[in-house]
């Protein structure tokens, strides 16, 4: 049994005296593709920032190797004199002081990272002029160039159209398989990730549950997490998580089957 790529034990994060996350425990096996799912404001980004060490937290965070990070969006002006390959080079040695002498190994590492995300075609273009999907690829290459064992991505699909989002998901799945790199991808909508996710970390109400999708995304499990009634509705292979009647106490199975059916018929 391998050491997990990431193991979080009893993590808690407080922000301005308020506990934003508590009792967070989960583990990611090496080479797994994991979605970090939750509504906007649920604390997904806070959890990512705590794992990266950017926020003070209590509990234990143990990563098996180097962590690469892809931020949600960075503001890039069209006239910024930074080409895609310059930006990837900053991922390789932007943290080093002193002058960067041009070298063959450096160029090769940058080229390999660009190739891995299929971005060779626009390596020489200014990043500010690329499309959202192309920028996302360059951001991923920036994180990949130092060969991380775990890749954290903050809402990489948020600003993309459906086709570009599907391409990024397929790309990440390929990287995950080929490199045995683990992916922890945070998103508010789990549907684009359903075909590729090995596991899910679902964040709500300051807590999180982790496991295979079919075990976590269930009416009774999520209702318990949220602390009030939630309906999980499956339509044509897609999943909707909707708030139920707040005053309604979920009784076990019988109730859930009924309301699930009721909600499905209510949707046109």
């Amino acid at each position: 049994m391998d050491q997990p790529a990431l193991e979080v034990t009893d993590l808690a994060v407080a922000h301005g005296g308020r506990e934003v996350l508590r009792n967070i425990s989960f583990a990611l096996p090496r080479g797994s593709f994991c979605g970090l799912i939750g509504a906007n404001g649920a604390g997904k980004t806070t959890l990512l920032r705590a794992i990266l060490g950017l926020l003070p937290s209590s509990g234990r965070i143990q990563a098996g190797g180097r962590i690469g990070y892809v931020p949600q969006k960075i503001s890039l002006e069209p006239d910024l004199p930074v080409r895609a390959k310059d930006f990837v080079a900053l991922g390789l040695d932007g943290h080093k002081f002193g002058f960067a002498l041009p070298s063959r190994t450096r160029r090769a590492a940058v080229a390999a990272a660009l190739r891995a995300v299929e971005a060779e075609g626009f390596a020489e273009q200014r990043i500010g002029r690329l499309s959202g999907g192309q920028q996302q690829r360059v951001l991923i290459a920036h994180a990949l160039v130092r060969q991380p064992e775990l890749l954290l991505l903050d809402e990489p699909l948020a600003n993309l159209d459906i086709k570009a989002a599907a391409e990024i998901v397929a790309l990440l799945r390929r990287l995950c398989r080929e490199r045995r790199m683990s992916v922890l991808l945070c998103a508010h909508d789990m549907n684009p990730l359903l075909p590729v996710m090995d596991r899910i970390v679902y964040v709500a109400n300051g807590r999180a549950i982790c496991g295979p999708v079919e075990k976590v995304v269930r009416t009774e499990v999520l209702s318990k997490l949220y602390g009030y009634h939630i309906d999980v509705i499956r339509v044509h292979g897609r999943v909707l998580v909707v708030a139920g009647n707040a005053g309604f106490e979920p009784e076990e199975e019988a109730c859930c089957a009924e309301c699930e059916a009721a909600h499905v018929t209510a949707i046109p």
């Binding site: 950017l54 890039l76 900053l90 932007g94 080093k96 002081f97 020489e124």
Partner: protein, 275 residues
């Protein structure tokens, strides 16, 4: 031509303006990318108080400008608000305070010594009348600052593009910002001594803005900006020299020519990009 190069004041002006032009050209690229043009302008205005003090007390202008330039960095750091939008506010407060002190010291200069050129020298530059030793010290200082900038350039660029990525790469983002501000203060101080505290911003922003329009990579932008800064400064010195006698009984100020060249470069860069 030989007379031009053998003239002591011309040599001083060429050396001093080269130091200021090259350093400000390099710093300017980061200043524009980081959106700190106003902080740069505030620092040069604060340093003008030192220039006025140096005239009043008869000490070296370089020392006067530098002392207040460094005090300006400390002021910006102390006034530094938590929210990013408050940066302009801090720079504005500091700029006002600095120019207020300048007004006081220049007033004492005028009423006490009868040095009528003091305000002109501090605000619009006096590179031909700088002591020759000053130019040597200034070029040494500019060389050190350029070395310092080379040392921090890559981490600074990463922190400028995205502070969070820099933090994830374990870079001391705040310390980098402070180091850059210190270099910026030294750069605009040299520019203030050369073309004047009011016009220093032109030398800081002009070459960088033109270079950013034309250059394709960060390194090329910095090199082109340095080249444009140097070209404007030396071109200005040459024009000021040959302008003697264009209008009988009148001389033309070198600062005017430098700023005019910077403006022309920028327009040319705009047209060059469109073509």
């Amino acid at each position: 031509m030989m007379a031009f190069l053998q003239s002591g004041p011309v040599q001083t002006a060429l050396l001093l303006s080269a130091a200021a032009g090259l350093l400000c050209g390099a710093l300017g690229v980061f200043t524009v990318l980081r959106g700190q043009a106003f902080a740069g302008h505030a620092l040069s205005d604060v340093s003008s108080a030192g220039g006025a003090g140096a005239l009043l007390f008869g000490i070296s202008p370089l020392l006067g400008f530098l002392l207040f330039g460094i005090a300006g960095v400390a002021g910006l750091e102390l006034l530094q608000p938590r929210r990013a939008a408050g940066r302009d506010e801090a720079a504005g407060i500091l700029l006002g305070a600095g120019l207020g002190v300048t007004a006081l010291l220049l007033h004492f200069c005028l009423t006490g010594h009868g040095a009528s050129g003091a305000a002109q020298a501090v605000m619009f530059g006096a590179m031909f009348s700088a002591p020759p030793g000053t130019a040597l010290w200034a070029s040494g200082l500019a060389g050190l600052c350029l070395l310092g900038l080379v040392l921090i350039a890559r981490p600074l660029l990463l922190a400028t593009l995205d502070a969070e990525l820099a933090l994830v790469a374990k870079l001391p983002v705040r310390a980098l910002g402070f180091a850059f501000l210190a270099l910026l203060a030294l750069g605009v101080t040299l520019a203030a001594m050369t073309i004047g505290a009011i016009l220093a911003t032109a030398l800081l922003i002009g070459p960088a803005a033109s270079a950013l329009r034309l250059a394709g990579s960060p390194l090329r932008a910095v090199l082109l900006s340095m080249g444009l800064g140097l070209a404007a400064c030396w071109g200005g010195v040459v024009l000021a020299y040959v302008s003697y006698g264009w209008i009988p009984g009148r001389t033309w100020p070198v600062s005017f020519f430098i700023v005019a060249l910077l403006f022309l470069f920028h327009e040319a860069a705009r047209w060059g990009r469109r073509a």
